[in-house]
Subunit: 354 residues, 4 copies
Amino acid sequence: MIVIVSNQTPQEQVKEITTVIEQAGLQAHISRGADHTVIGLIGTAEPRLMEHLQQMKGVEKVMKISKSYKLASRDFHPENTVIQIGDVSIGGGELVVMGGPCAVESAEQIDEIARLVKAAGGQVLRGGAFKPRTGPYSFQGVGVEGLIMMAEAGKKHGLLTITEVMTPEYVDICGEYADILQVGTRNMQNFDLLRKLGESKKPVLLKRGFSSTYDEFLNAAEYILAGSNPNVMLCERGIRTFETYTRNTLDLSAIPVLQQLSHLPVISDPSHGTGRRELVEPMTKASVAAGADGLIIEMHTDPDNSMTGDGVQSLFPDQFAKLLRDLEQLSPIIGKTFSTAKAPAAFFESSVQV
Amino acid sequence: MIVIVSNQTPQEQVKEITTVIEQAGLQAHISRGADHTVIGLIGTAEPRLMEHLQQMKGVEKVMKISKSYKLASRDFHPENTVIQIGDVSIGGGELVVMGGPCAVESAEQIDEIARLVKAAGGQVLRGGAFKPRTGPYSFQGVGVEGLIMMAEAGKKHGLLTITEVMTPEYVDICGEYADILQVGTRNMQNFDLLRKLGESKKPVLLKRGFSSTYDEFLNAAEYILAGSNPNVMLCERGIRTFETYTRNTLDLSAIPVLQQLSHLPVISDPSHGTGRRELVEPMTKASVAAGADGLIIEMHTDPDNSMTGDGVQSLFPDQFAKLLRDLEQLSPIIGKTFSTAKAPAAFFESSVQV
Amino acid sequence: MIVIVSNQTPQEQVKEITTVIEQAGLQAHISRGADHTVIGLIGTAEPRLMEHLQQMKGVEKVMKISKSYKLASRDFHPENTVIQIGDVSIGGGELVVMGGPCAVESAEQIDEIARLVKAAGGQVLRGGAFKPRTGPYSFQGVGVEGLIMMAEAGKKHGLLTITEVMTPEYVDICGEYADILQVGTRNMQNFDLLRKLGESKKPVLLKRGFSSTYDEFLNAAEYILAGSNPNVMLCERGIRTFETYTRNTLDLSAIPVLQQLSHLPVISDPSHGTGRRELVEPMTKASVAAGADGLIIEMHTDPDNSMTGDGVQSLFPDQFAKLLRDLEQLSPIIGKTFSTAKAPAAFFESSVQV
Amino acid sequence: MIVIVSNQTPQEQVKEITTVIEQAGLQAHISRGADHTVIGLIGTAEPRLMEHLQQMKGVEKVMKISKSYKLASRDFHPENTVIQIGDVSIGGGELVVMGGPCAVESAEQIDEIARLVKAAGGQVLRGGAFKPRTGPYSFQGVGVEGLIMMAEAGKKHGLLTITEVMTPEYVDICGEYADILQVGTRNMQNFDLLRKLGESKKPVLLKRGFSSTYDEFLNAAEYILAGSNPNVMLCERGIRTFETYTRNTLDLSAIPVLQQLSHLPVISDPSHGTGRRELVEPMTKASVAAGADGLIIEMHTDPDNSMTGDGVQSLFPDQFAKLLRDLEQLSPIIGKTFSTAKAPAAFFESSVQV
């Protein structure tokens, strides 16, 4: 940490600042420049000290040199975190594809979609049972029954499952039925939820807040890691910018940046990231080329009639299957492995519909 | 609602769209232009219909003409909502000033600050008992005890109290001790919390999400109103932009815009809106000139040593008192009433410290 | 300037960095912290040195402590710059109101509007002769003839004039006819234009780029000042954010911030800043309350039929006159002077139309 | 075009609006809904009509249904524009790589870099002779001599050349020496420059304004096309967002979006788009995977000592060569062709330095 003080600050005030630093058990190292004095802190500072210093008289600025998160940082944990769930490993060089509808609508729907995700080569089934909606009059999800339907579909077709959890009270029940718990963009800084997930051992996919910086994103991950849950994936899902043609601006630089700053796997969500079906294919490929460890993609058998209105960004099953075959070619060039071979071709061909 | 369809869309598909509209009990009115056909919907459409239509083949765009919120809209409720709490009325022409520390730290601290807020002419005491912090290692608030301390200070000095509530489970306990419940910027779309507040009868101050549009903000208010709680205040507290010199960009246009679109009182928060003490005074005055119904301002007796690090944006007591005397002059010119007369001058003079 | 180097950087590389600093004639002061070494530069660094250092191996970050602009800075020039043009002084405590149409359309139009601006108490007539338009098929202005019409109207009614200059070649001709030259938001970083204006002696109103930081804004002003033209006004005119309900987000914090960082007068443009007529009145008042030295406001006798489509943000003459009377009341409370008394009341009453 | 009118608007005013539409030679088609009346315009409207309508009383909103640009639109020109320069074709399936320094510094520097670009498989040499700098005290480029040096280096090594042109007066001289003229991000709406380029026949690479929407970007291209220069490339180079870790946020969705809306080739600039050397490789690959027709990449033989400070985002020659070999593998999977074979391997191996 560095404290910048104007040279017009009286010496007694500078003294008071260094006293505060020393009382916190650190050393203060002073460099006097032409206009400013820079006080370097030597030792490990508590966040509270920074907060205290930045409001002291004479202090122009306090700058962190080290990061405010620790467990999430690659400095602290140089090797990649690899999350192993059943026979799927995330973050270890295998490309992971999560596919499925925005919302679970019925047992038939989720069963059929699970069959298609598996057939196409996906490893995880996604689907929402509780939906966060910006207006109070929209469809709010089918609830716990949806969790059960999805769990059954996943088991039957040999897929892991992921679902969004919206409040601390639902962490346990969602964790009972799903393999991965997702934190949505509006909950990235719902600290009670993050703490509760930190107490759980379930793998968590944490979506970036749509206006959160990388630093805030990694601090949110830190909340979960600071419990005792090391199984966190980071998910870039688009940020809010001045451009409104796309629903969000998918920030693909986040992928290599987060992989540098952190050891956690990074997943890309081109469906929410663009909000437009015709952009999902190119942005999925771009995500893989940028180094993503996995993808979460919306797919629906009847997007024109999906219950959440998110059908507009959902792929048709044949588009999804075609895209995964393309990823099979693309992955090795980027140093990832991905195979669509597990599904019997015959089964696959017959299941694809336009 | 309007549906835009390209003229290259086959007639059967247009027919299918109009059938969906008619099955929903509305009329479809078709205008065929040079390149596009516009289908106007006559009648009141459910949100689900819009969602359905925008994902149908051939549909280029669905545009809402009417607003997606209703109870929050001035069209629906032309007169201003006036929230009466004790002898304070908010939204009815009286300027309301809420002042106090970021966090309650001790009984002595909050008692002394309450005395100063009252002396300066404020009507409401603010203070956080639970603090949402972006990093897990920061000070997280003193909890329920803080609520009790604040309630006692408020009662003793004749001030209403406002505190932030962060999760649905805390709505009841916070409501027991505080007169107004505040929803923070990171919780503006915590829909479970909004619903719970809708069941409460406590007045709510809803802060704008730091990246939320006016439309999203009013839809969040709608969640509370759609319960059966009509006592909602909207609070502009700064938005996130590319400019980082200020902590946020205080969007003062929000004040007249929200007052046009809605009947709810609009409060401004120049402390969080700027994040810098030296900007609080000019931006408070600008808020009043723009038509704000009230203000929420951070003030601390010892900002250099506040426990949350937000001291950097807190006024000193004398700055707070001076500002309120300036508002007393400014208010009548803008058509608002505000008086600092209730506090005995002698008491006041003695209490101010630099 | 401070250079941050990771402690994993080899000592020889740190040595190389300090050698570069010393060869530039500065001293390098080293503080070794837990994870990072901070090298403080003592002396005055050329911008090139910073650029050089930030690309050297081992350097994590170079941070400016001092500002990159000098002539525009209040550190360098502590007193307010007061620009005196005829009997109007800008930046010295008098509130200056510039009013008029987006574009000069005809001699009759600009003459009538000049009469109304003067009658209402304004001191400067605004009007564009050349219009920067985002699409090539829109009205592009009437050209030099418009300059002449505006100059005549200004002289006849006793008003100064301001017009936008878009390219270096037009600086001389525009300067011949207008009293103040305006640089539009899209030209804030048209460095050739800035340099040419620096050679001129004409007062310049420099609009903030709609996505420019305060730092970039002041660096653009520096270009003009670094010529030998000290007569620069800064104009906040709204920035681009995610909110699209208003055309721009008027960033009123810019007013006190720029007045702190710089000694130059700060003008507010609530017309472009909001893009909506009904917001011009509250945001004008808010601008004055925030401390603006002046305002530039669009007014048109027939906004419904203005030639640029900007009529939607233009006040009607009676709204403009009423607003200025309100400012007369508001100004002294903020410590500014403004009078509408110069225009004979009879003349004024007869000229106002609804 | 659609005009939205509130149903509270008096009938005479609606009549007036329809009269204006009909006098412009179009038909007005009225749909009366529950709260609003929608007037559809049938026929081709001039931009001026839209501007006029949106400022008429009673009009809540005017919405374009058709696009405001025409020549740049794929509706108007369904096939891809392919720009042929010598034996390089851009937009026709061949991936084009432009590489070189931010600024030409000396004849030796540009000759050596040209050799390396050619050796690595690039087709175009980039380099700035005039530099737009945000502060007046930074290095401003070597001028016309730099143009000559670059032209000679390009000719000697069999590369096309591209350079930035900053003002209309320099279009001719830059066009004499360079094969492609680049418009920088700060000049995207320098309309005089665009018009001058429209009169030229030189291919133009138009960079997106760092805060410009797709619509504004295509309108800027329209200015050039509306002259009579059909040879325009669009270049995504990053936009300004709240995230400051990267210099800009490279918006890769722009690539497929612009290719859908327009027929013009789309080039990506991962160097300025990220501002960080370590992100250039992943974001180059992501650009290609998203469908880019070409790339413009900064490379320098001695980035630590580049004269502009942009070395921090410049690749070293061996990184550049390695990246192009990777693109050779990646391109065919995305349906593009790219070969590094033209350069003799021996020559290549010897030229690469770390």
